[in-house]
Symmetry: C2
Subunit: 188 residues, 2 copies
Amino acid sequence: MSDGQRADARRNYERILAVAVDEVAEHGVNASLEQIARVAGVGSATVRRHFPSRRALLEAVSHKRIEDLSDRARELAGTGESRSVLLEWLNEVVDYSATARGLAAVLVPDSAEVEPAHVNGCAATLEDAASPLLQNAKRDGTVSSEVMLADLLALIAGIAMATEHYPDPAAQAHHLFRLAAAGLGPQH
Amino acid sequence: MSDGQRADARRNYERILAVAVDEVAEHGVNASLEQIARVAGVGSATVRRHFPSRRALLEAVSHKRIEDLSDRARELAGTGESRSVLLEWLNEVVDYSATARGLAAVLVPDSAEVEPAHVNGCAATLEDAASPLLQNAKRDGTVSSEVMLADLLALIAGIAMATEHYPDPAAQAHHLFRLAAAGLGPQH
DNA sequence: AGGAAAACGGCGGACCCCACCGTTTATGAG
DNA sequence: CTCATAAACGGTGGGGTCCGCCGTTTTCCT
């Protein structure tokens, strides 16, 4: 079963990742890499080896959540009224982003982005999975054709970051998103 | 002219603040405090004496911008159609937040917020100044009565933070805000 | 002019990220 | 089964930041 990966390397990778999940959940985006290494029982160099940048680690930590949301998008496709379905999914993204610390950070470009195309793997995955939902809503004319999924995700990420330190982040995030989705009032 | 302030203290305060403005403009919210001290020609302890927390420094740096926006709100009060006027002002807030680095950060609660009432001086100032604009719009029924100014500012701050590292932050921020203000589409 | 009080800033500790580099360990070929 | 090799490991040191302490200097008021 030689897959080109050394067994201990894979073991360490998973140990580190498991610890990182907890550590990020507790300390947020700025969790200490050395602390993660310490708890995982490896040298800090090993952490850096497996995850060259903080961002890489955050992406790995968020990977499962991203997959969950992508699956959910595929489930929802075609069920019910298009705009409602899209909003339902977006609300779940809001919930995940407000609940799972570090997720919002990977949905948005980092300072050191030099990649030419599709700069963001995580966001791209979500966009691909949820694209049908938005297309349907546009087709039905219930969402403006100018709206891009990337914009919606950026908006949600921003809301999550802004509400992170509120007494009840999730509630506040949902509140703000309802506001945005409603366009702050009756007249448009 | 004894105002209880020692002359050298005030001088240092202003030197530090002046340097901090530049430094924050260039390096954003995480500008190095020691670097600021170095450039200002003072010890790092002196910086901490005048600005006990990073946040305090950021608030001082943003103070003028906050005042400008507050003045602008008072200017705009009562001119033109209420919702348009409010949106005009909010757009200016978006512009400032996207342009002046560090402003968005002070419009949102920090991690260590234990204050009982009106936790945020900067946001509170803006809210007070712009409150009439929102009240007018609510009175005319052009904005939902449930909308709070604090929510609008938090939303804008989130947008600014999310778009900070885009190729053209200001453009992207305005784009997202237009989206939110329009409620992402024709149907509400 | 002189003394009290306030402000200053250097120093050391704790932490963090990062790169180097000698050592250990898994692996697959013989 | 042995063993050479390449991969993975982790300790260590350098550079940086934030923070608190404390002896020294400066300012101001009498």
